[in-house]
Each structure stands twice: as C-alpha cells, then as structure tokens.
C-alpha cells in the first residue's frame, strides 16, 4: 500500500501568531511546527503501513521552514518526503493550496491519501474535501476510527446530528480527527534514521503549474483588513473563602438578565 500524507507547517499556537504586512499569516518570522492535528494523520498512515506493508510519503507545501514538518513526520516513521517549495505559492488560499497539493499528489500514485481534520492556524478544514474533488477520489473524511479491510476502508464519523459509518474502496482520500489514535513520540533511533530519508523538493514548474495560477494575487478571496482585537477588559473576580461566591455569581447573572 502506498500512502501519501498531507501535512502543514504552522506557527506555534502558544506563541504570538500574527499577520504579515501583506495580510497573510506570518509563517516565516515566528516559531513553527508540524500542525498537531496532522500528527494524527501521520500516525494513522504508519499504523496502516505497519499492518499491511507499503510506504508512507509525506507531502507539504510551504516556505523553506516547512521542511521541519516533513522532518518531524520522518522521525515518527514515515519513509520519504515531498516539499513543494516556490516563492510564487506565498499567499495562496485553500483553493490555491489544494491545487498545488493535488498536482503533487497525482505524481505519487498513492492508494490512500490521508489529511488532518484542519490546520491549527487557518483551521478551515476544507483542503481535504477540495483535494477529493480535484483528484476525483472518494471522500471519507473526519474519521474518528478507521478500519482497512482488503481494499475497503470503513470509518466512524461523528457528525453533528448522528454518528455515521462510511464505507468506500481504495483509492480514496481520508481525513482523521484527534479521536482516531494517539500519535507516537519519535525514539532517538528514529530521529537519527530520519536524517537519511529522502526529501524531494519540487517547484511549481516541476508540477506544470505557472506562477500566475497560485499565490496571493490569484487567490479567489482577498483579506480587506485585519485588526488585533483589544484584550477583553478585566472582569470581576471574587473568592469563595467565605462561602458567598455562589450568591455573588447569581447576583451577577441576574444583573445581566440571564435568570
């Protein structure tokens, strides 16, 4: 089984995330990492490979630093990486990103493409569905549990109104939630081994994409403005030492007409 996993390099959520002067997310000037939610996608791929044999290749598009996301995935145990790196990609929206990824994935001949449920910075959760649309693959997304049985994949999907069991046949596109598994920590040995694993760097030209098809200027959406929200003004904090906390709480709620 050949499995491709799409992972994203994102600014660290615990740091100060910001926008650059051109209204795009600053992925260069702040500390970044493999999106935590993509660790579940990598882990699921490794489990399936370890069960059924095959190969796991990591695919990302992002700036130079995004290589760190590939490296982390290789340390977890993936076999190879593909990094689509091209200045012209900067500022692409989900439509553009999915276009680049789809072209990169077409070359992989994967039986299974696995994505995370959403990126922790943009958190749109739309790239997987867009990829399935572009690649004309069955979409089996937001899986909280995955079983592979021969060429049939079955997932549990916890929807808004119901839990559904969804079934499809390979090749297909899967996305997994953080309920799916527990991502492994790389061992020292795995960290050393990752250094020798191949990472292919591709440009847009390698994928047959011209610069005017992607990037900020050809995005189908435009950020008009962004504003840091003023921090919430400090609230009233009372201590329940004297056992009067509940009354004060209820007074507050009544004052706000919640009762």
């Amino acid at each position: 089984m050949r499995i491709a996993v799409c992972v994203k390099y994102v600014p660290d959520a615990s740091g100060h995330r910001t926008f650059g002067p051109d209204d795009t997310v600053d992925r260069v000037g702040v500390d970044g990492m493999l999106s935590e939610l993509d660790e579940y996608a990598v882990e699921e791929a490794l489990r399936i490979r370890d069960d059924l044999g095959g190969e796991v290749v990591i695919v990302t598009t992002g700036p130079e630093q995004a290589r760190a996301a590939i490296l982390k995935s290789l340390q977890m145990g993936a076999d190879a990486g593909v990094h689509v790196l091209d200045d012209a990609i900067h500022g692409s929206d989900a439509v553009g990103t999915s276009y680049v990824l789809a072209r990169a994935l077409e070359r992989q001949g994967a039986d299974l493409v696995i994505c995370g449920m959403a990126s922790t910075d943009g958190s749109m959760g739309v790239v997987p569905a867009m990829l399935a649309e572009r690649l004309r693959l069955p979409q089996v997304t937001l899986a909280s549990e995955v079983t592979v049985d021969g060429s049939t994949v079955r997932i549990r999907r916890d929807g808004d109104a119901a839990t559904e069991v969804v079934e499809a046949r390979l090749p297909l596109l899967l996305s997994v939630t953080d309920q799916c598994n527990e991502p492994r920590y790389p061992s020292f040995k795995a960290i050393m081994a990752a250094k020798k694993k191949p990472v292919e760097v591709l440009t847009l030209a390698d994928l047959g994409i011209t610069a005017d098809e992607v990037g900020l200027d050809s995005a189908w959406t435009r950020v008009v403005s962004h504003q840091e929200r003023p921090p919430r003004s400090a609230g009233t904090i009372v201590t329940d030492d004297d056992g009067d906390g509940a009354r004060q709480l209820v007074d507050f709620l009544a004052g706000q007409k919640f009762i």
Partner: protein, 318 residues
C-alpha cells in the same frame, strides 16, 4: 434582486436556528432561497417562510441520504448554475464546510469559512472572521465566482420577516463519483432535552475539575435552561461524550453566556468559546488562564459553588 442560496440545516424537517440566522443574513444580500435537501420539507416550510425565504428548493431522494457530502454539492452546483445567485450561505460545521469547499472548486468560486458577520460591500459580500483563537478580526471578500460563505452558529440574531416561500421541487441526479462513499449505518444522537450545544444561548461547561461528576454542571445548566459542554480533558477521561466537547477539535460555541467550571482555559479550549458574549468561570486556582477571559469569576470549589448557585437560581425563578 439576485437570489441568495441558503442550505437548510435540519433534522428530518426540524429546522435549526442556524438556518434562521443564515436567512436573516441572506436578506441583506438579496432574495433568500432556501435549499432543502432530504425529507420533511412540509414540516420545514413554516419556519423557512417566517424568516424570509422567497423560494424553497426541495430536493428529496434516497441517494442524498446514503452518500457523504458530494450529492449535496452536486445539487447546489446545479442550482447555482440555474439561478446565478449573489452568494451561497451554509452553516460552519464539519459537513457544511466540506460541502462549501467542494462546491467552491466545482464552480470556480472563492470560499470564506467561519464568518461571524456578512455585510454588503461595493463589490459583493464582505465577511468578518475571528481568527487565532479570537485574538484577531479579519474582514475579507471573494474576488472570483459566486461567493460561497460558511457562517458560524450564533453569529447573528434571527429576525422574523415573512417571505413568499414558493416551493420548487428540484429533480435530483447523483453522479457515480458521488456514490463512492456510502453511509452504511447511521446512529442519531440521543436527545438530552437540553438546547443544542452550538445554538444555545447559555452553555455551562465542565472540565477535569469536575473530577468526573457532571451532576452539578448539569443541574446548574438545567436551572439556567442551558446546554452542557465539556473540555477535552473531561471527554478523554470518558466523563462526557465527545459530541459535547468545546474547542478546536470539538464544537465552536458563541452563546450569550458561557460558564466554564473546572476548566483551566487552554488555548485549544479557548478557540471554541472565546467569542462568547459573556464569560463566567468557577475554578479553584486563582492563576488559571481562564480568568483572563472572564467577565465574572469565582475562585472556589465548583462542587459547592455550583450546588449553592443552582439552589439560588431555582429559588429566584420562584
């Protein structure tokens, strides 16, 4: 005036409040046309009319229920083709966003997800989004194709206004591609009798600090007529079902009042509740980061505070 397509969010014809919100926003942009997919359209008609739907497109066929996402995308794409709408509005939930994403690709349209407001601009709709766990507000617009916009629940107060609500049945054709991911089993979530988490005006949530007993949280929620939410720590411990998790990988809520009890306020939790209008916390640790967000906080043991507060609320309601 152009039509604005609104994908109706419903369970067997019981229309969710989110749809009334979308219809209210759609009226700012043009004439709202509700797109009703599935069975129960008769039951839905009244509520769609009372929030201003001029047309109701009804699509009902078994294939729409048996396969994931794509049949709805194809139905919407066909309607977009036929009606050249000014915009398409959907609810920002797992499925709504996936439909929106595929629809954007299929119809060559720009997509904006998780809008908290939509207004008319010079060149079409202008949206407001709240990003990075609510710390930054972004306004954006679509520059290509028909704007496809998913809107977060509770972003706007539904305003009633009668529409013509002319029903137009639409014939359904589902492609082979749409039939590749089949739903083989469906277990509807059991109703708790409490308001729906994402729609509720008040949410009372419990975390690790409950120690596993959600009784006091539920009792306080019931006194206030609130929905119950949980942190991931509580869900991972098996204390409350995942469907009630609030946060980055759970539900995003934006109620009038959010009460966090025994929840520290980790960034991933904040991502799901930070846009709540009023925030209250009960936590025994005065240093807990949740207190940075609150309008009112009680430093104390949630068990005693909630029990006493529940009693007082019930007493005041008489």
């Amino acid at each position: 005036m152009s039509e604005v397509l609104v994908l109706v969010d419903h369970v067997d014809g019981a229309v969710r409040r989110t749809t009334a919100e979308l219809l209210t926003l759609a009226r700012r942009l043009g004439e709202p046309s509700a797109v009703f997919v599935g069975s129960g359209a008769d039951a839905a008609q009244g509520s769609l009319r009372s929030y201003g739907a001029e047309k109701i497109y009804v699509l009902d066929a078994p294939e729409l229920r048996d396969y994931l996402v794509v049949p709805k995308v194809e139905a919407l794409a066909a309607l977009m083709d036929a009606s050249s709408p000014a915009a398409v509005l959907l609810v920002s939930g797992g499925e709504g966003k996936e439909i929106a994403g595929r629809l954007a690709i299929r119809t060559g349209s720009g997509l904006i997800t998780d809008a908290v407001d939509v207004r008319v601009g010079d060149a079409g709709p202008v949206t407001t989004q709240s990003v990075f766990a609510g710390s930054v507000t972004v306004t954006a617009e679509v520059t290509h194709g028909v704007p496809v916009i998913s809107v977060k629940p509770n972003s706007v107060t539904p305003e009633p206004m009668d529409g013509a609500a002319v029903v137009e049945p639409v014939s359904v054709s589902v492609s082979d591609l749409a039939k590749t991911a089949r739903i083989v089993e469906r277990r509807p979530r059991e109703s708790t009798g409490r308001p729906e988490l994402t729609e509720a005006a008040i949410v009372v949530a419990g975390g690790r600090g409950t120690g596993g007993d959600f009784g006091p949280v539920e009792a306080f929620a019931d006194a206030l007529g609130a929905a119950v939410g949980a942190s991931r720590a509580a869900v991972d411990s098996g204390w409350y079902p995942h469907a009630y998790q609030v946060g980055q990988t759970g539900k995003t809520v934006s109620p009038q009042l959010y009460v966090a009890t025994g929840i520290s306020g980790a960034i991933q939790h904040r991502a799901g509740m930070q846009t709540s209008k009023t925030i209250v916390a009960v936590n025994k640790d005065p240093e807990a980061p949740i207190f940075d967000l609150v309008d009112f906080g009680v430093v104390g043991d949630l068990h005693s505070v909630l029990a006493e507060a529940t009693q007082q609320v019930n007493a005041r309601k008489g």
